[in-house]
């Protein structure tokens, strides 16, 4: 999952820098749980996409693979160029599933102004819950 963490750090960086490590820890755990439940073919597709962007994205900025060896700023540059290229599919696939999970974190939802109902009140078996300052799942 270190590849996923490297991607998540770049994708969810803000002008203030990469997101807090505990949030990266949380999204990594959630994604592991997601993939366990997704079935073998879906796992294979996801891991293939992750492999492709780990080895492919650095080439867009003239760096040697893998992506996780690059500083976060260079990762962002590489992934941006790959996302805009004709082989964007691996970036878009991994980004899509990370976003679905990431934006369920209460802190992130507050940051983007989402006030929808019923997020994170309970856990699936083996699924961790996020904790956020001032807001814990009941």
């Amino acid at each position: 999952m270190s590849a996923l963490r490297a991607f998540a750090e770049a994708l969810f960086s803000t002008p203030a820098g990469p997101p807090p490590p505990d949030r990266i820890d949380w999204v990594s755990r959630e994604m592991e749980d997601y993939l366990v439940r997704a079935g073998s073919r879906a796992r294979w597709i996801f891991r293939l996409s992750l492999f492709a962007l780990m080895w492919g994205a650095p080439l867009f900025v003239g760096a040697l693979p893998t992506l996780r060896r690059l500083p976060v700023a260079r990762r962002i540059e590489a992934l941006t160029k790959m996302e805009e290229s004709f082989i964007a599919a691996p970036v878009l696939a991994v980004k899509a599933f990370l976003c679905v999970v990431w934006y369920e974190h209460p802190d992130v939802q507050r940051e983007v102004g989402y006030v929808g109902r019923a997020t994170f009140p309970m856990a699936l078996p083996g699924t961790s819950l996020p904790s956020a300052a001032g807001e814990r799942a009941p």
């Binding site: 770049a10 994708l11 969810f12 960086s13 803000t14 002008p15 959630e30 749980d33 997601y34 366990v36 439940r37 997704a38 079935g39 073998s40 073919r41 879906a42 597709i45 996801f46 976060v72 962002i76 992934l79 941006t80 996302e83 805009e84 290229s85 964007a88 599919a89 970036v91 878009l92 980004k95 899509a96 599933f97 976003c99 679905v100 999970v101 990431w102 934006y103 369920e104 939802q109 940051e111 983007v112 102004g113 989402y114 006030v115 929808g116 109902r117 019923a118 997020t119 994170f120 009140p121 309970m122 699936l124 078996p125 083996g126 699924t127």
Partner: protein
């Protein structure tokens, strides 16, 4: 006890019944209720798990996808030729896709039924003939028009734009009771307002004595003397889905209701379709495309009913527009950018309106046996359908601009939001199929109904031409795409099929 967890059963499992129903979604639940109430001993086998409404209503979208969607939402039809890769949403749980739909209910359009009569030889299928079935289902699942007060701001804005352009939207009907407008239908109704079959037909089936076993993957229909004699398969682990013991259900009547992807797979494994060559073919998907409008004002489209209005103004051109909304994570995934650029775009989420359009497609898909337990599905979009897509996107974008949107995000991968001038200059007509972002919720037609065994898989009563005792009653028997959401059509057809089975001699 009506509900049994197959993942907790030690060793192998053997059951006897009058009827075994494979799948507990819109088709299977209706059939199970009708036949149990007719006095048959009914066993329902379901591959997925049972999550009670009180629990699934509290899950976050991604948790719900993990618990109740097939492949946790990673089901695809692979585009062939100039066609997009299509993400296909399907339920794998007690209640099936009925727990995940927006609840939209349309009767089968009259012009579609005419096609079935004239081109498919299904002489009985008139609006008059089907009306009693529709009426019965509509009563049971409480189909009502969505009140104006439940429309989201996103839908209100789109309707304002459409009205300015001379095409006001129409109110939708949905199967809801006391809907609060939480905009979460696709991820399990939080209040039980959506009258999905786990809250309607399945309790009726249980009250009449039906049993339901979860975590049961049916691999094939068994055959004794040229007649269906039951089903066999594997019990599955509750979390990973790994195979455990074997199970057998012996029954003189088998009803497949596993949906447009899996009913053909089971039929193929059971030797059905060798003569006609039709099993798994003719897949239609209603390929769907979303266009988002960005407004200066906050839209907060998650306040209100997920779906409440539609437009059939372009029905004659093969497209239907329907309101919808998606969770912030899905919205964010559709916006371009990595790092700070992505963070900037995410701040726009509450300013986005979203509307969907679907193509009334020809059957260009094929379901084949895959290397694992899931099928390998390809979809070749017909040239006429692909030609509709640019028009569909432009119509929705123009409506957003008429409503006051500053930019639109179109479903072309890697494309930044566009102003009206930028959209006019955008060469939509030459976008390759693989660059389109496309989704579907309506796989239909892979065991289609028809008048002859050469051109179809089941007859007008849902009975398989090639295996007496096997009935199919789900979206796979719908002979053509509908151009509208198929839930009500599937349920009315399943009800009609179930009545025919109930009336037949055992």
């Amino acid at each position: 006890m009506s509900l049994h967890d197959g993942s907790k059963h030690a060793g192998d499992l053997s059951l006897d019944a009058d009827v075994v129903v494979v799948g507990s979604g819109t088709g299977g639940a209706v059939v199970a209720a009708v036949l149990a109430e007719a006095g048959r001993r009914v066993v329902i086998v379901e591959e997925g798990r049972h999550v009670p409404q009180q629990e699934y209503g509290r899950l976050s979208p991604s948790q719900q996808m993990r618990a109740m969607w097939r492949d946790a939402g990673l089901t695809f039809a692979v585009g062939v030729g100039d066609s997009p890769m299509i993400n296909v949403m399907m339920g794998k749980c007690v209640g099936g896709s009925s727990t995940l739909t927006g609840g939209v209910c349309f009767r089968t359009p009259g012009f579609i039924l005419r096609t079935w009569r004239e081109q498919r030889g299904l002489a009985e299928f008139s609006e008059e003939h089907l009306a009693p079935y529709f009426e019965e289902v509509e009563r049971e699942i409480n189909v009502v028009e969505v009140p104006a007060a439940l429309r989201s701001r996103s839908t209100v804005l789109f309707n304002e734009g459409a009205t300015k352009l001379g095409h006001p939207l129409k109110p939708m009907r949905r199967n809801t009771k006391d809907c609060e407008g939480n905009s979460k239908c696709n991820f399990g109704c939080p209040t039980g307002a959506k009258r999905s079959v786990d809250l309607t037909y399945l309790p009726r089936a249980f009250a009449a004595g039906a049993q339901l076993w979860t975590h049961c993957l049916v691999q094939q229909v068994t055959n004794a003397g040229g007649r269906a004699s039951g089903v066999e398969g594997r019990l599955l682990h509750g979390v990973t889905g790994e195979p455990l013991g074997r199970f057998v259900v012996k029954a003189p009547r088998v009803v497949l209701a596993a949906g447009g992807y899996h009913s053909p797979l089971i039929a193929m494994a059971s030797g059905v379709g060798r003569a006609s060559g039709q099993v798994g073919k003719n897949l239609t998907l209603h390929p769907g495309f979303r266009v988002m409008g960005r407004f200066d004002e906050p839209v907060e489209g998650w306040r209100g009913a997920l779906q409440s209005m539609y437009s059939d103004a372009w029905e004659h051109e093969g497209m239907t527009l329907t309101s919808l909304f998606v969770p912030p994570g899905v919205l964010a995934a559709m916006l371009p950018g990595i790092g700070p650029k992505h963070a900037d775009n995410a701040q726009l989420i509450r300013h986005l309106g979203i509307f969907g359009g679907m193509v009334h497609d020809d059957g260009g898909g094929v379901v084949r046996r895959g290397p694992g337990r899931e099928p390998f599905v390809t979809y070749r979009m017909a040239a006429k359908d692909k030609a509709i897509v640019p028009k569909l996107i432009r119509v929705m974008a123009d409506i957003w601009f008429a409503a006051g949107a500053k930019e639109v995000t179109i479903p072309v991968l890697g494309t930044a939001p566009l102003t009206a001038d930028q959209l006019r200059a955008f060469d939509l007509e030459h976008v390759k199929g693989r660059d389109l972002e496309c989704s579907s919720q309506h796989p239909l037609g892979t065991c289609r109904m028809g008048a002859t065994k050469e051109s179809s898989v089941v007859d007008a009563n849902g009975e398989a031409w090639e295996l007496p005792g096997l009935t199919i009653a789900d979206g796979s028997v719908v002979p053509t795409s509908l151009g509208v959401n198929p839930q009500l059509t599937i349920m009315a057809m399943a009800l009609r099929i179930a009545r025919r089975v109930a009336d037949a001699k055992a």
